[in-house]
Amino acid sequence: MSETPETLFEKIWKSHLVMPESTDTPAILYVDLHLIHEVTSPQAFGVLKSRGLKVRRPNLTTATVDHSIPTTPPNVDGSRVFADEMAKAQVEKLEANCREHGIAFHGQGSPTQGIVHVIGPELGLTQPGCVVVCGDSHTATHGAFGALAFGIGTSEVGHVLATQCLLQRRPKTMRVNVDGKLSAGVGAKDIILAIIQKLGFGGGTGFVLEYTGQAIRDLSMEGRMTVCNMSIEAGARAGLISPDETTFAYLKGRPHSPSGKAWDEAIEKWKRLATEEGARFDAEVHVDVSALAPMLTFGTNPSQSIAISENIPSPEKLVGADRETLAKALDYMGLKAGKPIAGQKIDVVFIGSCTNSRISDLREAAQVFKGRKVADSVRALVVPGSEAVKKQAEAEGLDFIFKAAGAQWREPGCSMCIAMNGDQLSPGQYAVSTSNRNFEGRQGKGGRTFLASPLTAAAAAISGKLVDPRLLK
């Protein structure tokens, strides 16, 4: 223990300072793991090329394809049907860039391909105490392991490729204490939607969040990833959780996890990372989840959420810009203020994304689909987060359950979360989605999104409308 109790964030920050910050210059922070994908990297490689630079640490860089790839099965000859030539060219560009610079590339068809925030942890690349960056705002997912993980822009992707470093001002810290014991049918997704509702859409801007409390300790690593994943939806670039036995148990035996003597040493080091008793945060909030019900969003940003049993809020009760913001969201969503959200008809269900596409998410959804049928009016897609998740789900027979219910079982990718690959809503359609953003047009131009847990999404697929998954007959 150090003299002044320190937070997990402070320990990681200090141990990665190449140069401390001053009034005139930001800190130079060293990056342990740089994850790249096809959408936010090509222009960065372009900068390297035009300046004649090399990738400084190819061995600390890992690439996969996820955003713009098709999730329909390959043709007999193994080729894929891309949404268009640009998507195909983007994927080929990444592969060529990786080959040129000696970067590990987990391409489509490889057993290790998947959504970047699913494969990092799966491969054991994400480890406690690391700094992890990626040109993707959901990089905070890796914070579940006690890593400082955050999204960066493409210029910064170039900085990390060329120097393995980033220029950073030290963020503020906020402790999000989550107390209570969840009731059955309520999970990690409901917790994070409740937290974002409490903090507000921009309430975490400028902060690194640390999630603490019994409800967080009780979550599996997959649940913790779901929570950390959506930190950005409150404006926080990073969200992390102090590592514990649950973390170590997940990491043991992963391909890139240390082994033998190195494993024992790593555990000793990781155990010292947790935030110490009495450590100071710049802000603190408390959320009690013992009475939490399944949550879902009704509006056009992830903080606009309610419990499934509640009525859609009324703009009339608000004033000024708050009123306008809510009225505009309800207008886009085509929803009536004051009406119960339960019973709202839906057209599409999407189970997937870096938020909820891991094996435990699919098991939850399968519980609901088992022995039931997707409503005739609903198109349901189940998109595993990675090849490894897909393989595991198939070994457990989950794919049969989904297909027997009438849902589509897809190949791994981001799919309808970002709707770049052809998987998208038509204008006016309603979707229940286990993804992370319900922005206007996010899942297809004119499409309308309700964000929810895998359980709630699966129950909606069966019912053809929004229902409390705990009450499904």
Partner: protein, 188 residues
């Protein structure tokens, strides 16, 4: 960059996210050229592809305007640098709001797009006067209203230095190579 003088364009909506600034379907590019034609695409064009005459960026008032005054929490959402690329390509040089999302702000600063945060009072004044002729002086860190009123704003000193002197951040980092090597040696 030091001096910007221009009329303002006002988009008063709160929480304008990066999916609105540039929808994901335009992110399949491998360069940054020409993204401005799709900035705010889903607001700017009607279903038949024609410009929506109701939308401010399609009106004469927006021609040659370099300053965008936007509602709270501008640029929230994804890390796509395509958002500032598109805004800059359209012609914007500064964004003024009460709060600007972290990743967007970082990305903007690397592309010569100045993010300026003002108080709710000043913001209300700007929202209420679309088309106001504003002057921005980065050296003095002030906004100058047509009335002559001067309002100061904060900006990180390093970012200001980079913008004013055209310093490239990658060049700066590359110049720190001995420190990076020393750090790697310490950790090995």
């Amino acid at each position: 960059m030091n001096h910007i003088q221009s009329r303002t364009v006002v988009l008063p909506q709160r929480n304008i996210d990066t999916d609105q600034i540039i929808p994901a379907r335009f992110l399949k590019v491998t360069d940054k050229v020409g993204l401005g034609k799709n900035v705010f695409c889903d607001w700017r064009y009607l279903p038949d592809g024609k410009p929506n005459p109701e939308f401010i960026l399609n009106q004469a008032a927006a021609a040659d305007a370099h300053i965008l005054v936007a509602g709270d929490n501008f640029g929230c959402g994804s890390s796509r640098e395509h958002a500032p690329w598109a805004l800059v390509d359209f012609g914007f040089k500064a964004i003024v709001s009460t709060s600007i999302a972290d990743i967007f702000r970082n990305n903007a600063l690397k592309n010569g797009l100045l993010p300026i945060v003002v108080s709710p009072e000043i913001h209300a004044e700007l929202l209420g006067a679309p088309g106001a002729n504003l002057e921005i002086r980065l050296d003095e860190q002030v906004l100058i209203f047509p009335s002559g009123k001067r309002v100061s704003f904060e900006i990180d000193r390093f970012s200001r230095h980079c913008l004013m002197n055209g310093v490239d951040e990658l060049g700066f980092l590359l110049g720190c190579e001995p420190h990076i090597s020393a750090f790697e040696a310490r950790r090995a």
